[in-house]
């Protein structure tokens, strides 16, 4: 990890200050310095950091340290709460119209992720909210921007309103709105062209679109990787268009996304969505508490839990649970369990979401992921009988499987060993079940440990 976890830094500082029951100016100084650096490294705007730190100081001084928390936990809590309060608030949900299409205009700089997000928004509204959505291709300048939107739209089965590249974006927006009204769409999402920086031509075009179609929502795309300038960009767009919301894109990288805080603080515009991956389903409603964790570098437990809930195939999980409980567990079951875990995304990504896990190096993560793949290859090289009755494995069978999968006999042995230990765990679980208690660490994701 690039940055030492802020929580760790703070507790290190506070080791020397053990036993102090009050937060005072002097014992807070070092900690505030670390918090300041953490925020700046997360690309929070300098001025915002300054005000923020002053606020924290004011709030924290003289506070009694709650009995159960040490001072570093205490200050982290204050910082976290303050961040959450700043990030959240405001009307952060889309207001849908009842008897006419809701018109959404997407604006932003080049490369901020407008076209991709247009597709993701359409997907979210269509599949989760069951809206009838129309996309309008208003980026007539960037080569292949319309193709890109069409490809995405095709994949999610949403129609695109396009007039090619020879019609002005304003005209396209007007006609798309007409189409949306005539065909009784619930939502119209208008993709627009980006520019390298705020320039007059772009701004004129956007304000004209605004004047002509009076959108219900004007959402600004902000790249989570943006640096100190993000806040100026947001200000410029907001002054001209009166934004109704912000979408943070590319939050699936390791950018800490401090821009979210700066923009919220400086413009007051609420953050409504965040882009969390490359797939079209990877757009999420913005969660202030999680963003606060992220800016501070503290992991994101809730997202992990929700991701796990969404991605794990319920039926398959239940089938397996029953099988486990009945004490029958074979190599096919092990493989399908592993696949369930894989569905949730890369193991590394998952581990990163968990607090207290920074000790796993990228190399270890990559190793674990590779191992999973090898297991799959090896198990796929076995016969039906072998997979369901691993007990029949003898040396000759192992050699055959090793050859068939292009691996070593020792690799095959590792699979079998893993199988044995998982089976052992299942047995224990059954015993625990009989005694009415779950063994520690076996709730929820039980059985996936050890990879």
């Amino acid at each position: 990890m690039a940055f030492e976890n802020l929580t760790e830094k703070l507790s290190r500082i506070f080791k020397k200050l053990r036993g102090q029951a009050r937060l005072t100016e002097s014992n807070m100084d070092d900690m505030l310095k670390e918090i300041r650096i953490a925020l700046l490294e997360a690309d929070v705007n300098y001025k915002v950091v300054k005000e923020f730190i002053a606020n924290i100081k004011e709030k924290a001084i003289g506070q009694d340290v709650l009995t159960k928390l040490n001072p570093s936990q205490m200050i982290t809590k204050i910082v976290h709460d303050e961040l959450e309060e700043l990030l959240g608030g405001g009307e952060n949900e889309i207001q849908y119209q009842n008897n006419r299409p809701t018109v959404i205009l997407l604006v932003g700089l080049q490369g901020s992720g407008k076209t991709t997000s247009a597709g993701k928004l359409a997907y979210l509204m269509k599949n989760k909210l069951h809206k009838k959505v129309l996309l309008a291709a208003g980026d007539v300048y960037r080569p292949a921007a319309i193709d890109q939107l069409k490809q995405i739209a095709d994949s999610i089965d949403v129609p695109v309103f396009s007039k090619g590249t020879n019609v002005s974006p304003v005209q396209i927006a007007i006609e798309a709105k007409k189409e949306a009204f005539n065909e009784h769409y619930d939502v119209l999402i208008i993709d627009t062209a980006g520019r390298i920086a705020i320039d007059e031509a772009l701004m004129n075009e956007l304000s004209e679109i605004k004047k002509e179609v009076s959108p219900d929502e004007i959402l600004l795309l902000v790249d989570a990787m943006s640096g100190q300038d993000a806040v100026n960009v947001a200000n410029a767009f907001n002054d001209l268009l009166a934004l109704t919301g912000v979408i943070m894109s590319k939050l699936d990288g390791d950018a800490r996304g401090g821009a979210a805080l700066s923009i919220r603080h400086m413009t007051g515009v609420p953050i409504k969505f965040s882009g969390i991956g490359e797939k079209v389903s990877d757009l999420d409603i913005f969660h202030a508490d999680r963003m606060a964790d992220r800016i501070l570098g503290m992991g994101d437990v809730m997202t992990l839990v929700e991701k796990a809930q969404e991605e794990i195939d319920e039926k398959e999980a239940r089938r397996q649970a029953n099988k486990m409980m009945s004490g029958k567990f074979d190599l096919d079951d092990m493989l399908s369990q592993m696949k369930q875990v894989q569905k949730m995304g890369s193991l590394g990504g998952l581990l990163k979401l968990m607090p207290g896990m920074p000790k796993i190096t990228p190399e270890q993560q990559a190793y674990a992921e590779k191992e999973m793949k090898n297991f799959e290859i090896i198990i796929n090289s076995m016969t039906f009988e072998e997979r369901h009755n691993p007990e029949i494995f003898q040396y000759s069978r192992k050699i055959r499987v090793a050859k068939g999968s292009g691996k070593q006999v020792s690799d095959v042995n590792r699979v079998l060993k893993k199988y044995e230990s998982m089976k052992e765990m299942m047995k224990k679980m059954e015993q625990y079940k009989k005694s009415g208690k779950l063994p520690p660490g076996m709730g929820g994701l039980g059985g996936f440990g050890g990879f």
């Binding site: 705007n45 080049q110 490369g111 890109q148 920086a197 990787m225 699936d252 990288g253």
Partner: protein
């Protein structure tokens, strides 16, 4: 003599077309940086605690990064004490010196693509989504076409919707060939085809567009490693160059990106795009400081010819000297 005085003198005698592109393209960045620095020296005739606090603000707001900023300030403080300088204007010059001395000391300052003597030279272009990778590839292709080289493009970004189409449009405009595969097909097989074709047609420069990837995605990074292996199978020693494209507005994550890419592929250069925006571009200093990779080209405008060789002196002149 400080860097600034030196450059003022140098460029007063001889300005090139490129110098003008720099001063023009960086007008907005200059407003942000140099004007602030100047008003700082006007506000504080003599330096004091507040001067350094405001200096810190200016540097951090230029995306130079906290670590480097604190170090520059320490160095400047020390030098000003040693030389007993307290005049703010003079100190400003020392600040500039320390900002860029680091860059000059950290390794070589190559710009143009280094061509191999024999067979095709392979240039891999990597970068996260949305930094202007495809456009930069087109600009690089044009640059070397103009220099009389034969150029082949390879669309190994088979993932992003519209990526291949965008590159195809550029290839058509430039009148060069593009090797491509099906949407979502294996990028390595596209790269393989591209290398084979380059060899057969005796192409001078092959530019490979790699899917914009977030460096945190292990499988994408693995794919990049595989791409490198496949390319080397057809053309040993290739890829000869790997450029990381970075948007000038990128914040401190730019350093994290560069580090991650450097781990899986031998990064030989950085190309900065969109420098003509309001961007601060301080990230190039942070990256150089951490990795020593040189900036090879810089995008100073939207026109095809606005991709310039990176020239540190013109850059500093464009960033710091009052118009």
């Amino acid at each position: 003599m400080g860097l600034i005085s030196f450059l003022k003198e140098k460029f007063s005698k001889k300005k090139t077309e490129d110098t003008d592109s720099y001063t023009e393209g960086m007008a907005k960045s200059r407003q942000n940086f140099s004007n602030k620095l100047n008003s700082l020296s006007k506000k504080y005739k003599k330096v004091n605690q507040e001067y350094f606090e405001e200096l810190e603000e200016i540097l951090i707001e230029s995306d130079v990064g906290v670590k480097l900023t604190l170090r520059i300030i320490d160095e400047v403080l020390e030098e000003s004490k040693k030389k007993k300088i307290s005049d703010a204007e003079e100190i400003n010059e020392i600040v500039i010196d320390h900002m860029f001395e680091g860059y000059m000391e950290k390794g070589d300052s190559l710009t143009e693509v280094r061509f191999v003597n024999d067979g095709p030279t392979v240039l891999l272009v990597v970068g996260v989504n949305g930094v202007g990778k495809t456009t930069t590839i087109a600009k690089l292709a044009k640059r070397y076409l103009d220099k009389g080289k034969s150029v082949l493009l390879v669309a190994a970004d088979t993932f992003r919707a519209g990526a291949t189409e965008q590159l195809q449009i550029w290839a058509d405009r430039l009148g060069i060939e593009l090797v491509k595969g099906e949407y979502n097909s294996d990028p390595s097989s596209v790269a393989y085809d591209g290398m084979a074709k380059a060899k057969k047609d005796n192409i001078d420069l092959v530019i490979v567009d790699v899917s914009g990837r977030l460096q945190t995605k292990q499988y994408l990074m693995d794919e990049l490693a595989k791409l490198n292996r496949v390319i080397a199978k057809v053309i040993p020693e290739a890829p000869h160059e790997t450029f990381l494209i970075i948007d000038a507005t990128t914040g401190q994550n730019g350093v994290v990106q560069a580090k991650a890419f450097a781990e899986v592929t031998k990064l030989t250069g950085v190309v900065i795009t969109k420098m003509d925006g309001t961007s601060k571009g301080g990230i190039i200093l942070a990256i150089r400081d951490e990795l020593g990779v040189p900036v090879r080209f810089i995008g100073l405008g939207e026109k095809m010819d606005d991709l310039k060789e990176f020239d540190l002196e013109s850059y500093i002149y464009g960033l710091c000297v009052e118009k």
